[in-house]
Structure formats: C-alpha cells, structure tokens
C-alpha cells in the first residue's frame, strides 16, 4: 500500500487535472497547511512521552523530576551504566534469542499447515480449518494455567524450552499464510504435478517462494509480538540469567534502586529496535494489518 495508491482516490476538493494558475496554487498551499498543522500538533502530543523519556534518560539523577525537561548537560554514560547495574546485554540477547526461535518454529509450521489447507485437497479440510479459526478467538488467559501445569509436569519451568514451546504453534500464522497461498493460481500446481513433482517439492519450489510477502509479514509480527511478550515469561522465569527484556524492565527498580534516569535509558534502548524495525519495514507491517493481520 504505497502513498500513491491512496493519493489516487483523494478527495475531489483538489482537482488534479486543473492547470496551475496562481489562485489554485495558493489554495493548494493553504489546503496543505490546513491538514499539516493539526496533524503535526497531534503527532507532537503523541510524541511528548517519548521526548520526555529520551531527555530524562540523559539527565543526572539530581535533575530528574524537575519541571525543566532539558538536562543541564547530556549524560550519555547513563546508557553505559544500564549495562552495569543490570545484566542488560543478557536480557537483550535472551529476548532476541527466544523471539527468533519462536518465529522460526511459527513460520515453518504455519507455512506447512497453511499449505495443507490451501494447496492440497483432502477430506475434512474445511472442518479442521474451522477448528483453527475458532481457536483464534479464544482468550489466551484461559489456557495459561493449564499450560503452566504442563510445564511443571515436563520440568520445563524456568527454562527457555518451556518459554518457547507453547508460543510456537499459533493458529494465527496458519490463517494469515493460507490467505496468501490461496491467491497462487492452482494451474501452477497442476503443471508441476504433471511433471511429476510431489507435494514436498511443490511446497518448497512454488508455494513458499510465491508466499514471500506473507512470510515476511508473519515473521515481523511474530518476532515483534514475542519480543514484547510479557505474561508467559513473567510466570515462567525465575533465574535472572534467563530474563527477557520486559521482565528485566519490570524488576529494574527492585534490582537496581530507584534511578529513573537509568530506567528511562533502559526503556529507550528496549524500544529502539522496535522503532527502527517499524520505520524500515513499515510497508509490510501496515499492509499486514490491513489484510487482516494484527500484532498478536
């Protein structure tokens, strides 16, 4: 969904084909300012907490809580100190590690299941897919407690395996990828079958390459979702060496005293990758949401 597509269905208040004379130009200018100024003001309001966060993270502790947001001098060493007062590098690594595993499993198994639902003909296909659809609507909180019990029984509490497994097989990815795979023309499969290709080959050589946008979207969503995930690590993890970022942030105060400037530095650093990813991959994210995917 690029900007131009939307521009194509722009409101007719500004006739596109009109020749540019002085008057429409002035009108266009005023029109542009009219929409830009309120948007900029709203965007500023939305950004204020972030601005405060970054500025506070650069203050010395004695200036935290003053009405003036600006630090008297920029203390970049706050960022370095975060890594000293808590094991921030490890939390970072753990978050990315866990999110990567979950994403990998999620994408692979979802793609395979979506393939079965979209490209193969078999009895009972629709019924089982309906089951998948129904589970999407289930409140996750209902399942948390039995899942925790499963982890107790498997002796996986306080381990990465226990953290990864229950999150790695969601129905949502199957649904999303099936939507993508359904758009691939069946004639491709037919001709491949004529040439003697089995499902396995078709999956890897036709369906997967053609579902690339869907795979990328799912990868982004799963990764983002698990990077931010909070509940399951909160109940699963005991050892500080296994903490992920959200848990590390949650217990920041209890492990390092009340240092708001350091806390804000940590918050900034944990948000930063998200912001970068969003800016770089905006196209896929916005499109994924509008197709029907939503950050899980």
């Amino acid at each position: 969904m690029s900007t131009n597509e939307i521009a194509a269905c722009e409101s007719p208040a500004l006739p596109r084909t009109a020749a540019l004379s002085r008057a429409p130009m002035a009108r266009g200018l005023i029109y542009a300012l009219c929409w830009n100024v309120p948007l900029a003001l709203i965007a500023l309001t939305m950004a204020l907490p972030f601005i405060w966060m970054v500025l506070t993270s650069l203050k010395p502790l004695s200036e935290v809580g003053l009405a003036n947001w600006l630090p008297s001098h920029l203390r970049w060493e706050n960022y370095a100190r975060v890594f000293q007062v808590i094991d921030f590098a490890r939390y970072y690594w753990n978050s990315i590690f866990v999110a990567a595993w979950i994403t990998f499993l999620q994408v692979l198994t979802s793609a395979m299941a979506a393939f079965a639902f979209s490209r193969l003909q078999w009895p009972g296909r629709n019924k089982i897919f309906l089951l998948y659809l129904a589970t999407i609507m289930l409140p996750g909180l209902v399942m948390v407690i039995p899942n925790y019990w499963i982890m107790i029984e498997l002796h996986l509490v306080n381990s990465f395996t226990g953290l990864i497994l229950p999150l790695a097989f969601g129905p949502f990815g199957v649904f999303l990828l099936r939507q993508f795979m359904l758009t691939i023309p069946p004639s491709l499969d037919e001709s491949a079958r004529m040439d003697g290709a089995g499902p396995w080959r078709i999956f890897w050589d036709i369906t997967m390459p053609l579902s690339r946008p869907g795979l990328i979207t799912l990868t982004i969503f799963t990764f983002m979702g698990t990077y931010q995930n909070f509940f399951w690590p909160l109940v699963m993890l005991k050892s500080q060496s296994l903490y992920t970022l959200p848990i590390g942030l949650l217990y920041f105060n209890s492990t390092s005293g009340q240092a708001t400037n350091l806390l804000m530095a940590a918050v900034t650093m944990s948000i930063a990758p998200l912001v970068v990813i969003f800016i770089v991959l905006q196209k896929y994210i916005v499109k994924g949401i509008q197709i029907g995917a939503v950050k899980g």
Partner: protein
Amino acid sequence: MENLLPWGIRAVTLPGGAENGRFHPRLREWGGAVIGGPGNMDIKHILLLGLVLLTAASVLTDVNLPSHRRRYPVLHWVTDDNPARVVELAPLKNWLRRHRYPMFTVHLDFANDDMSKFVIQGVSGDADTLVDTFDDDLDYLHDCNLLYNLTPDAKKMGFDLSHTYPAVKATVVRNGRQYLYPTNVNVLDYWVNKAAFAKYHQPPPPRTWTFAEFQRIGRAFVRAANPPGRRPKVFFTNSVDTRIMRRSLGLSAFNETLTRCTLADPRYVRVLRLMYRWTFVDHLLPTPAEEASFATHPGYGGPDFQMFNNGQFAMLYTGRWMLIQLRKFYKTTGPVPLAVCEPPYGNFPNALLFTRATGIYIGSPRKKLAEYFLKYLTSRAYNMQIIRDGDAEPPNPVYARSRRFLDPPQYPNEWGCTAVEVRAIQTIAIPRAYSPFVLPWTVSRIMRTDAEAGFMAGIYTARQAASLAADRINRHIIHNIRHSQRLRRLYDKLRRRQKIIDCLRKEKRKVPLRLITNPFYRRYYVAKGWAR
C-alpha cells in the same frame, strides 16, 4: 498468552473485501531456480541457515549461562534488596575454610523476594535453595510443605533454638518442628531525629506515651514545622502500627482459642479512626498518595531513610536496620542525634517481634551445604558483622549483650537506642496470633489491602472496614474447616473451650490459662489477673 494490547485487537479478517498478496513478478514458469534467481536466496536455504544459526545460538547461550562457569557449588538466597547482605556474606568464605567445611558460594537473589512468587516457584519444582521469611511467611511455606524439617540436623550442628531468643520460637517452629533459623531479629519502634524536634523548638518525645499524648505532641510538631494553610511537607512520622495499637487496647485479631476473628470490635474501629484522623486531619503522617509521590531516592529503604535524615520525618517507625543506610548519611550530613520511643499504647504495653529467618527449600538438592550456611548464621563472624554494620539485632543473643552493640563507641549519637529494642524483645514482645484455621498471609492481606486500604481510600467507613475484615476472615475459616476433617475436629474442640471461657468471663470468674491458645491473651489475661 498473547501480548494483548489494552484495547488491542487480535484480529482476523476485515469484513470488507480484503486485498490479497500479489504474485512474484519474476515468476515465469514453475521451478525454484527460476524464481530464486542469483543473489536472491531461496526460502529453503534461508530457513536452513536460520536453523543452523539458531542451533549455534542455543549452544552459545547454554554455555554462557552463569551456572556453567562456577568453581564451587552456588546456593541462591532469596532475600531483601539490602546492601548489608553483601557485607554479611563477606566472612563466609574464610569461615568455611577455617572450619574445613565444604566450600560453596552464596548468591543473593533480590528479584524473587516475594513470598507469593517463591511459593509458585517452589510448588513448580524450581526455587532457590535458601529462602528468607519475614513475619508470618512460615505458615504459608509450611502449609505448602516447601521447607525441610531442620529439627534433627539443627540439634546436631548447633543452630537449634538454644542458640537464639526464646521469643523467636513462634516464628521458626511449627508443630514442634524447627524450619528456620533467624537471620536477624527486631521489634519496630519510633526512631526519633532529635535535631528535627530541636529545629522547631519542640521537646523530644517521651519513651512511652498514650494515644492522646502522641496526638498532642504530633499536632504541635506539625503545626510548628509547616507554614499554615499549605499542605505539610514535614511530617511527624511515616506510619502507625494498627496492630500494636489494637493489642494495647486488649484486642487480638482472634479470640482466645483462635477460632474466630474478632476484628468487628469498637476497639479496632477506634484505632482505624485514629489512624484516619492522624493522616488526613492532623497530617501527622503522609497520606497514601503523598507517600507514593515521595520520589526517586536511590538506595536501600527508598525515600524514608533519606527523609528521616533530612528531618522531613521527625520519627520513623522502623527497626535498627535503618542504621545500615543512616550511617552512610553521617559522612555527608553529620551524625543525627537519635532516640527511640515505643509506639503509643492504650493500656497494655506490648511489642511485635519481627524476625527475618532463613529456611531451606525442600526441592533443593543442596540441603547439606545450606545447613552449613544456617550454622554460619550462629557464628561469631556473622553476628559481629551485623553488629558492626547496623542491621537488626543479631540472631545469636550472646552477641546482643555486648557493650559494643548497645553503645557503639564510634557512634555516640546512637547510644541508648538499641537498648530499648533489646529490652522490648526480652520483655513485652508477644508473638502474633496465628490461627490454625486460616493462613496468616490471607489475614494480613484482608486486613491491610482490603479493609485498611479501602478505609483510608474512603470506600468504607471504619465500622464497615472492621466488620468486612472480620467477615471475610471468618468466611475463610468456615471454608477451610469444611474442607478438612482434621481442622474440623480441632475446631470443634476449641469451640467448646471457647464457650467455657466466655461463660467464665461473663460470670467474672478466673479462666484457667491452659484453655487459652492465643499467645496474646495468655499474656493479657495474666497481666489483668483474669487467669488462674
């Protein structure tokens, strides 16, 4: 399980026509080679690479876990975030070496210092070896059967009850079995910043006082210390203890046989009203909201110690452990002249013993080593460290009598303070009333979070809060005895005793002491001369 946005949506399809993905532009015929093209990696290979990388990362992560890189076995100790713990552990290594005990290291775990967290971890089979309990935590752990019974080993190795204060017994023993050894022992008292009183030309408070005296002195202080018409910035104290006040009026949370919660009583209502009045009318202490706003003070104990040192709190309701932090302030602000007062009493002076005590998690494979740690807590090395460092009273009373402890030579401003606390431990301290029919943890949650916080927030009147607390606790008792035969029998037996006691009291006759199980009433009846 998903990370739900606040009003976020975990959504599916747009009901309108959803636009679908487009075809790969480079698709010409079927076959992976064509689609992949040079420089554009095949998805299969990407996934394969991902798998290899992830496997490598897993190995790397596992190798890098701290537990794989230690020379000696590590015991994790769940305890409070307190700089003193670090210092108190320092002599351990030498002590182990000197006595030729097996070598181990102890790691502090502040992040799990939360009983409900520990219990969940414990019943799930993975919790730290050493666990600190405070106040009434033992009942919770004992109820879940999460601690080793230390009785035989304690006697053998020398950390049994004969090595600590007699009053501690109620905290560390259940059903005649010892589960804990104290890390330190304390009563709570008002520590007085005499400089703050002098600054506003107020005489320092007396060592003991009644509610009325407390109120009069407090109001005079707050009036002198704050400009009129504004919200006060300087407070008389940080908190009042409703439990001690209530008990000083002769009211325990439970009846004589611990079968019923008796909080729905005008005496408790009176105490609640006093607390409200002192907070919101007289401003002797900060409101909960003001307390939450005392901002970002780094270091142990949060803002309270700092504010006490500044004189923003003239008195602090705390224990000797405050000295850990206070002595650090001496270096910059000079020593504060200190005194200690007891809490205000109605007609029956009493004190509550707060014991921090350590036990061993039943699922831990390192019980033997952990017992050496408990032995260490009785040692001279550990106890002298506490005395030097300003934590609460040492667990081993042998060391609490030393002159160096009571009147530390390098801190003349503290002289006489600790003696008040030690005397309270040895004379008026009465253990809390633990009813076997309801978890103390539930009782204090209902009392503090439901009733008292609700009352202070203005949701309930004092009378409603008192009857709500009693009502909920009694409902728990009824529920618990209904689900346990053993409790039911005990309950019936004690109810019969209670009837006898009630009859005797009505006829103003003396009650045989053996009928009373509530430790508070045992003392109270004797003091009042109601017992025989």
